[in-house]
Amino acid sequence: MVYGAKSGHIGGSLSSTDLMSVLYTKFLRHDPERPSWHERDRFIMSKGHCTPVQYALLAELGYFPTEELNTFRRKGTRLQGHSILGKPPGVDNTAGALGMGLSFGLGIRLAQRLQGLEDSRVWVLMGDGEQNEGQVWEAAMAAAHHRAEGLFAIIDRNGIQNDDFTKTTMSTEPLDEKYRAFGWTVLSDLDGHDLTTIEQAYRWALDQRSAPVCLIFDTVKGKGVSFMEHNPSFHGAPPSDEEFKVAMAELADA
């Protein structure tokens, strides 16, 4: 998709792929046949530039034809560069400017509670670079204040942001202690590419009833493609012709 569009965010999509696959296939209460089902869980893609992985998943799950993936970022497409609520069906938030998804998810969670939707939950995926945004911490404070259990923050800690490594651009550590201090229940240092670990973490989160839960996964930006892994150059740049061939071969072998 990103190669075809000649633009898009490949690195952060690959670091989130395992986290999102496990969530969508085993935990998220959703129905591709009824994308507007009111009682569904909401998945909030706060790192709204990582649409490639979300669109690919939604298409595989049957929300829209996989052929449409080729229209990504092209004129007239429903598959906009950054997330748009309802476009395509299955996308539950508008994003692109970082830092707003946790607040949006908090509003949804409080509404679910008011409406008595006892089986519904909210899952918010954020990047670690995104933790620079002050609004994230406004939301963290408010979610704990309103005891928003059933709100799950998933942090894809791939260690890289737009320009450089996060530790070089803006240190956010210790993230786990920060969320704990804000009143969240936290699990950290999780392997974000080990499917069993991911599954256990989500299952554990569902059992926590006293506070919102933050799951911090260590991931590899550009996971699965040797020359993209841990490489800040592939935050927002598409692969070249030669790079594309090598990458597809490596992913096919994986």
Partner: protein, 315 residues
């Protein structure tokens, strides 16, 4: 007390809490969110009757607006309340969380304009109309009195999509003593006239009417339009005014180069250009009583009348 007695002056912000209570009682599905200013905006009155539908987010307007969007995505009509200067703080959240998905969030911002007074420049919003009218799918309104304020809040609840309302801090005279005449997107002609049209909004409407009284004694017959809806602007009423009276003065409690005046000039430039003058704010304000703060900026009946004399001379 007789029915002919003039109603007591009231602030446009005073209508907010009571109107939201009435709308919820009448069957709306409201949520009210607040950023630690519920007493001043009067939104907190809603909490007393519907505590489960009232959420405070502390002094954190950005989180409040994105969370309001979340409530709206779940089917609620959400009223978000704060001061106008702090509403500006959450412009990007109004833009991306609310407006781009066209969600039902109504931002009711009190303490608009220099008439906020004593707190000085930081608390006097003179840019909020420019900020929120820049959102392409947002409705933007400023009530001229407390009666119109109630009507505008009700219209906001009944109009899909993003909405911005600026209310004011001081108690000011009631204009609509016989009840509201507000229609979203329509100017209200409070006085007809042949020589010039004064287009005003908010607290400047009552001052425009006083200016028209003064001008009448000088033989200048002024039409007065209350332009309570800034977006969508009533272009037809402006074009009619331009054709009928041949000159226009716009009066507002806002920067002239980005406010109602600029929008009226933009609307008329291609179809009905006529001589125009602008009464408004050109710089940041300072501490003073609310009426003094308006005087400092020339936002007085005398200031409006002077602009009218100037524009009539240019016809």
């Amino acid at each position: 007390m007789t029915t002919t007695q003039a109603p007591a002056p009231a602030a446009t912000r005073e209508a907010v809490g009571p109107t939201l209570i009435r709308l919820q009682r009448e069957g709306h599905n409201l949520i009210v969110v607040d950023a630690d200013l519920g007493k001043s905006t009067s939104a907190r009155k809603f909490r007393d009757e519907f505590p489960e539908r009232f959420f405070t987010f502390g002094v954190a307007e950005q989180n409040m607006i994105s969370a309001a969007a979340g409530f709206a995505a779940m089917g609620h009509t959400v009223f978000a309340t704060t001061f106008a200067v702090f509403a500006e703080h959450a412009f990007d959240q109004f833009r991306m969380s609310v407006a781009q998905p066209n969600l039902n969030v109504k931002l009711i911002a009190s303490h608009g304009g220099v008439s906020t007074g004593e707190d000085g420049a930081s608390a006097q919003s003179i840019e909020d109309i420019a900020v929120f009218a820049s959102v392409p799918n947002a409705s933007v309104c400023i009530p001229a009195d407390v009666v119109e304020s109630e009507a505008i809040i009700e219209a906001a609840a009944n109009t899909p999509g993003p909405f911005y309302v600026r209310t004011a801090r001081p108690k000011t005279p009631v204009i609509y003593t016989d009840g509201p005449r507000f229609k979203l997107g329509k100017a209200d002609m409070l006085r007809d006239g042949r020589d010039v049209t004064i287009v005003a909004c908010g607290l400047l409407v009552e001052r425009a009417l006083r200016a028209a009284d003064q001008l009448a004694t000088e033989g200048i017959d002024a039409r007065v339009l209350n332009m309570a809806t800034i977006r969508p602007l009533d272009v037809a009423a402006l074009e009619t005014a331009a054709r009928d009276t041949g000159a226009i003065v716009v009066a507002e409690e806002h920067l002239t180069h980005t406010g109602l005046g600029a929008m009226c000039a933009h609307a008329l430039a291609t179809t009905t250009p006529v001589p125009m003058e602008f009464v408004g704010v050109e710089r940041y304000g300072e501490s003073a009583t609310w009426s003094e703060a308006l005087e400092i900026m020339g936002l007085t009946p005398e200031g409006i009348a002077a602009a009218v004399r100037k524009v009539v001379a240019r016809k």
